[in-house]
Amino acid sequence: MAPEATSFRTKLLVAMMLVVLVITATVLYLAQRNVEADVARHLHEEFRSEVGSLLAVQESRMETIAERCRALASSVRIRAALEEGDIEDLYLNAQVELRGVLDSSGMEGGTDQSLLHATFFRFLDAKGAVMSPSSATTEPWEAQLSMIAAPATGQVGYVTRRTIEGLAVMDQVIATPIISTDTGEVIGAIILGFIPIELTTKESAKNIKSGIWCKGELRLPQSEESSSDTLSREVANALNKPLGNSTVEIDGAPHLLFYKLLNPSSHFPPAYEVCLYPLADSIARTREVRWKIIGAGLLLVVGGLVASHFISVGLSAPVTRLAQHSAEHRERREQAETALEISREELLVLNAELQMALSDLKSSQHQIIQQERLRALGQMASGIAHDFNNALVPILGFCELLLLSPTILGDKQKAVSYLETIQTAAKDASSVVGRLREFYRPGKTGMAFGSVQLKRLVEQVITLTTPKWKGQAQANGATIEVSLELESVPSISGDESALREALTNLIFNAVDAMPAGGTLTLRTRRGDDCAVIEVADSGTGMIEEVRKHCLEPFFSTKGEGGTGLGLSMVFGIVQRHSGSLDIQSQPGSGTTFIIKLPLEGVTTIRTSSSVDAKLQLPLRILVVDDEAPVRDTLAAILTTDGHIVVTAVDGAEGLKRFASGQFDLVVTDKAMPRMNGEQMAAAIKNISPLTPIILLTGFGLFHDKEEFPQVDVLASKPIRIPALREAIAEALRHS
C-alpha cells in the first residue's frame, strides 16, 4: 500500500479516537455536573419543603399566638394596667390571662402542645421599650426585645437567651401588638418566647445540620458550640452571596448550605434557617457515576477504534487507489519531463550544429568575398597599370624634357609648372597604388583624415579619369560630354584619396551607364551643414529593384565585367565620412548620385597639429635608411625644417650612432640589411624607452600600427613633407 494511504488511515484513526475522547470527556463532565446539580437540586427541594413546612408551622403558631394575644390585648385589665403603666398588675393579670390562653385546649387535635408553650413573655410599651416584670433584675438579653415602637403587626424574631443554668438558648419570639379597642391605636405589645421549631430532619440524613442564624450567630442544636464560630463565619460569607445556596467546608468536609429567611419584613434582625447537607454522599455518587462513564468511555474508545479501523479501511481504499493513480501520473510526468529534457539537449546540439554551420557559412562568405576582392583586384590591376602608366607619362616626359633642356630651369615659372605637373602625376600614381589598399583594409581605422577641398578634388578626379570617359568611351565610339557645375564649398575633413576613389568609381559607373554617350555632370554645392557632391549621368538609369539593391555587395548589372563591389565600396567610404549617399534614378533618363558630407570642424585636430610640428625646436634626429636617395631626401627635408640630422645606412649602424649620441627622434626604414628597422627600434627602446621612433615602410599601406609595438609612429613611403611633419609631431606627442 502506498505510504500516503497508510498515513491517511493513521490520521483518520487518530482523529476518530480524538472525537471519541472528546465525546467521552464531555459526557463525563456533563454527567458529573448533572449529578452534582441533581444532588444539589434534590437537597434544595428537600430543604425547601422542610423549611416550607417549618414556616407553615411557624405561621400557624404565630396565628394562634396572635389570636391569643388579641384576646389578651382585649383584656380590660391588661389594657388598663398598660395604660396606667402598672407593670405588676400587668404581669399579674397577664400571668392569669396567659395561663388561660396557653392552657386552653381549644387547639385542633394533632398539634403539638409544646409548640404553643411560651417559655417567657414580656410587654413592650407604646414606645417599644421592654417593660421588665421586675426592674431590679432586668436580664441583659431583654434588650434584644425592644423596638423603635410597638409594632402594628405581628413580628417574628430570634433572640439568644441565657438560661438559669447558664446555657445559651435561642428562642423564637413573637411580638403581637396590643391595640386599643376604642381608639384603634397600638398601646403596647406582648412578646412571647418559644422554643424554635426544628426541621423535621429525616433519619436517613442524620448528618444534616440545621439551625438558625441570627446576628452573626449560628445555633445548631446538634452541633457543639466550638465549631459554631467557624461555621458562623462560613454562613455569614454565604449569606453575603446573592444565591440561596452555596458550598462550605465544615471540618474539612464539603457541605451544601441552604438558607431561608424566617422572618421576612420583621422589625427584629433577620434570621435564617440554615441547613447544611453533607456532600459526602453526593460525592460518592458522583464518583460512582464518573467511573461508570469512564468505563463506558473506554468501551466507546475501543468500539470507536474498531469501528474507525473498518471505516478507515473502507475510506482509505479509494484514497489508496488515488495514491496509486497519482504515483502513476507522477511516473508518467517524470517520463515526459525526461523526454522533454532529452529533446532539449537534442535541440541544443542541433543549435550548436546550426551555429557551426552558420559560422562555416560566414567564413565561406568571407572567403568568397576575399576571392571576389582578389578577382576585382586582378581586374583593376590592368586599369591601375594603365592609370599608373598614364601617371608616369607626364613625370617621365617632363623629367626628360628638363634633363634634355636644363635651360628651362632658368625659366622659373615654366619650371614650377612642370614640377607641379610632375608632382600631381606622382601623387596620383601614389594614389593609384593606395587604391589597392582599400581592397585589403576596408573599414579599418587609421585613415589619414585631412582637410579636403571638394572643388579641387572633383577637378582632379575629372583629370584623372579622363582616360576612362574620354579615351575608353571614344574607343567604344561614344562621345561623353563632361559638365562641371562646381560651387565653392568649405573644406571638409576626410580622406582625400578615399573620396577620390569613390568619385572615380561613380564616374566609371556613369560612363558605363552611357554606352551610347551622353552628358556626365559633376556638381559641388553647399547644403545644410554639409557639402554636397553630385555625379549625374544621362544614361540608362535604374529600375526601382536595381536602385534598391545597387549598394549591396556583389550586386552588379554589368555581368562578368562587374564585381558588384564598386557602389558598396562607395557607400562604405561615404559612411566612414559620416555622410549620406542618395540615388535618384529614372530608367532611360539617367541616374544621379548625391553625396552629402559633413563640413569640417568635427575632425580637424590633425591639421592644426601638423602646423605646430613645424614650430618645434630644432630636434636631433637620427635617420636610418639603406637607400641613399630616400635617406638623403629625408635628411634634406628635415634639415630644411631646421633639425639636426645624423644618418645611418642600416640598423646596426643606426644603433651605433644612437648609442654614441643624443637624439630626440629616430626615423628609420623598415626593411634593411644586417638589422632591420624593427629590431633596431627594439634595441633603441631598450636603451632609451622614451625616445620616439618613426618607422617608414614601403609596405606601410598593408600594415597596422599595432603590428609594431616598439615604434611610436608608422608612416608609409613615399612620405611627403606634411605627412612627415605630422608623423614627427605625433611621435613627439607619444613620447
Partner: protein, 219 residues
C-alpha cells in the same frame, strides 16, 4: 352618752351651716368664662353625650369637657361627702366625675347585667368585683388621694370613666362649648385651673371679691 350627744350636736351644726346662705358663710364671689376646648369645631349640643377616651396615653373626654376648679388652701371638709358613679345602659352615666378629696363614691349598677368596676390608677386602686343591681350596700370607695382615677369594667371593655379627685370644694364642669360658671367663691387670691385632659390643665391666678363676678377665659 356624752360622745353621742356631741355627735348629734355636731351634726345639727353642720346641717345649720349647710342651710345658711353661702354668701354669709364663705363669701359670694363668682367666676365665669369659657374654656377653649380642643376639637372646638364640633358644634356644641347641650344634651350631647360624651365618653372617655385614651389616645396616646392621654385620657380625656370626647367631645372635650373641662373641669374648672379653684385651687388654694381651704378649710378641710368635715362633713361626709358623697357622690355616685351610676352605670346604666352599659355606660357610666357621668363618665367624668369631679369629686372633692375624701368623697365616698358609690357605684350603683342600674343594668340587668353584672358589672365589675376596677381601677389600676395610683390615686385609687380598687376592684369592686362582679355585682348586680340588687347588690347591697351599693359598692363604694372613698377617694382620699387627689388625682385621676380611670375606671374600667372588667366585663364591658368599652366602659370607661374618670373620677377626678380634687382638693378644692369649688369646681364645676363646663358645657360642651367650654362655658362654665363658679359661684359662692370666697374672696381672695387663688389659682383658677381648668382640667382638660390627663395631660393638660390650664391655670390662671384670680383675685376674687365678694359679690363680684370675674370673667376668666382659658386660655
Amino acid at each position: 352618752m356624752a360622745s353621742g350627744f356631741m355627735k348629734q350636736l355636731l351634726f345639727l351644726v353642720s346641717v345649720a351651716l349647710l342651710l345658711l346662705p353661702r354668701s354669709l358663710l364663705w363669701g359670694d364671689a363668682t367666676v365665669e368664662g369659657r374654656v377653649e376646648l380642643p376639637g372646638g369645631h364640633s358644634a356644641p349640643v347641650a344634651t350631647k353625650r360624651y365618653e372617655i377616651v385614651t389616645k396616646a396615653g392621654v385620657v380625656a373626654t370626647d367631645p372635650a369637657v373641662a373641669v374648672v376648679y379653684l385651687e388654694g388652701v381651704f378649710p378641710r371638709q368635715t362633713n361626709l361627702l358623697r357622690a355616685q358613679m351610676v352605670q346604666k345602659d352599659l355606660t357610666f352615666v357621668t363618665p367624668l366625675l369631679p369629686v372633692q378629696l375624701g368623697t365616698v363614691v358609690e357605684f350603683p349598677n342600674l343594668d340587668d347585667t353584672y358589672h365589675n368596676i376596677f381601677s389600676y390608677s395610683k390615686p385609687k386602686r380598687f376592684d369592686l368585683g362582679r355585682y348586680r343591681s340588687e347588690e347591697r350596700p351599693i359598692p363604694s370607695q372613698v377617694f382620699d388621694q387627689p388625682g385621676l382615677v380611670a375606671l374600667h369594667c372588667d366585663i364591658h371593655e368599652h366602659m370607661r370613666g374618670i373620677i377626678l379627685v380634687l382638693e378644692s370644694p369649688y369646681f364645676t364642669k363646663s358645657d360642651m362649648a367650654g362655658r362654665y360658671r363658679l359661684s359662692g367663691l370666697p374672696a381672695g387670691h387663688y389659682t383658677l385651673k381648668a382640667w382638660i385632659s390627663s395631660k393638660t390643665t390650664l391655670e390662671r391666678p384670680v383675685e376674687l371679691k365678694n359679690g363680684a363676678t370675674l370673667r376668666v377665659d382659658f386660655p
